[in-house]
């Protein structure tokens, strides 16, 4: 069955995915809103940067993050100057890397949900004395609710499944940065197929349930 290390990996993975999703919903909402509403010329380039992790090999992303956050990297020097120390091979470093890795999975559904609202309700709110912030909170957010649920589910599930970035930036430290996919990898390396089955099967079931939930939501909305 599951060893204490396996349980620690599961706990760490859930904590990582939860924090990453929360962080992305907070930071991603204004970015998605801006991408959906702005006519600015930077919209194209920024939209591309935000989507980049979708197509980039995780190892490439992890490598650059490692360099940037390392002792010689500009971000690494910044975190050291701020007294935060170095982020690679720590849990906060993992959260940061996961957030970048899963960013498109949160921002894209949000951006689409905001864009789908259209100008009509927002302009109507303005003519009904609602300030832009008020309009955002009282009209845009409630109307984009399905997008938020989709974004949270996709962001969480995608973070749970990551491997390459975590390996690069987090190493493989049990109880500290060893996540589920890495625990599976370790078991396979050690020829402990039984334990690998438990974890892999759990992941399979989890992914299936997530997709099922998403589909059921879509089905409910279309009725």
């Amino acid at each position: 069955m599951l060893s204490p290390d396996d349980l620690a990996a599961i706990g760490l993975t859930l904590r990582l995915a939860g924090l990453t999703t929360l962080l992305l919903l907070l930071v991603g909402t204004p970015i998605a809103w801006w991408l959906a509403r702005s006519q600015h010329w930077l919209k194209g380039p920024i939209g591309a940067v935000v989507t980049l992790p979708l197509v980039l090999p995780p190892a490439v992303l992890g490598f650059y993050l490692l360099v940037l956050l390392g002792p010689e990297g500009p971000l690494g020097q910044l975190t050291q100057a701020l007294g935060l120390g170095l982020l690679p091979f720590t849990f906060p470093g993992l959260v940061l890397a996961s957030a970048i890795y899963s960013m498109p999975f949160v921002i894209q559904p949000l951006q689409q949900a905001f864009a789908a609202i259209g100008d009509g309700p927002l302009e109507a709110a303005a003519t009904l004395r609602a300030s832009p912030l008020d309009t955002f909170l009282s009209v845009a957010l409630p109307l984009a609710r399905p997008g938020f649920i989709t974004a949270a589910i996709l962001g969480f599930a995608h973070t749970v499944g990551e491997f390459g970035v975590v390996l690069m930036i987090g190493g493989n430290i049990p109880g500290k940065t060893q996540v589920l996919s890495m625990a599976i990898y370790n078991h396979v390396e050690a020829l402990e197929y039984g334990q690998a089955h438990w974890l892999a099967g759990g992941m399979l079931l989890f992914s299936f349930v997530v997709l099922l939930a998403l589909n059921l939501r879509g089905w409910q909305r279309s009725v």
Binding site: P121, A124, A125, A126, T127, L128, D134, S138
Partner: protein
Amino acid sequence: MSIAARFAIRYAGFSLTAEFDLPGHGITALFGPSGSGKSTLLRAIAGLERWPASHLRVNDSVWQDATSFLPTHRRPLGYVFQHANLFPHLSVGRNLDYGARRAGAAARRVVRDDIIELLGIGALLERMPARLSGGEQQRVAIARALLTGPELLLMDEPLAALDLARKNEILPYLETLHDTLDIPVLYVSHAPDEVARLADHLLVLDAGAIVAQGPLAETLARTDLPIPLGEDAGVVLDAYVRERDARWHLARVEFPGGELWVRDGGQAIGSRVRLRILARDVSIALERPEGSSIMNALPATVDEIAGEPHPALALVRLNAGNSPLLARLTRRSADLLALTPGASVWAQIKAVALIG
């Protein structure tokens, strides 16, 4: 109460320059063909679009000038869009409260229950917008705008997205609104029948410029309107119901130019009604017509004879006791009758529409 505006609007392939003063009461129709810039102008007045080098003053407050621009949500206006734009996540009642709650003191100028009754939406308050018909949605949207206690109501083709039946369902409400509330309305429309029915004042736009403006009856009676109204050319007159004939279901109405028998629309004796007489329904005779099925004939003098886009037709403006009438004839008829300004004639009126 008045509105003074000067707008300079320019975007790819379109420019609009408009300077106008509007009365602070009644319904002013912004009328013109599609693409004439009337909706753009209305959006600029609401602050939904911002154009530099423009100026707008409503009553005593400046909404926009060279240095200042009041954002839409700070302008005491009501706006009714072509599509109702109700908030789909809020019930009808909460849609109504949305603006009213934010408008604060201004909203107390109107009584919620009165507006709800005026628009006949009392039974809909618990419903969600998706469960309403197009006409019902638009009535809720109008009520929602009115409940902010606006100083100016802007309506952007509020009937254009509705079918004829829904249109006829809403028009009476708009007329009641006109008679009951003392809020100036700017009403964008490209439909001459709506304008004739509702407006008091007319602003005609064509290709980005104001081409005519003035009181409705006066402006509609012009023969030189730059956008020919064709089949819709005609005059609008105010008249009073004097007699109702129960046997023939007719009503005798009186206006400065004389009396007309019209289909009885159920209005009480003494009530004021608006008549619309289309130019194509008026013919001209030199003698008082006898033995005709047309029961309405009025003595008049010829004011002016103007051409029509089709070379076969002429538009004749008549003066019947200081009320203008328009008659559309063939140029051949005008020639045969030897019509000249000042000539005394009889106007035969085949049809009169009683519009509200």
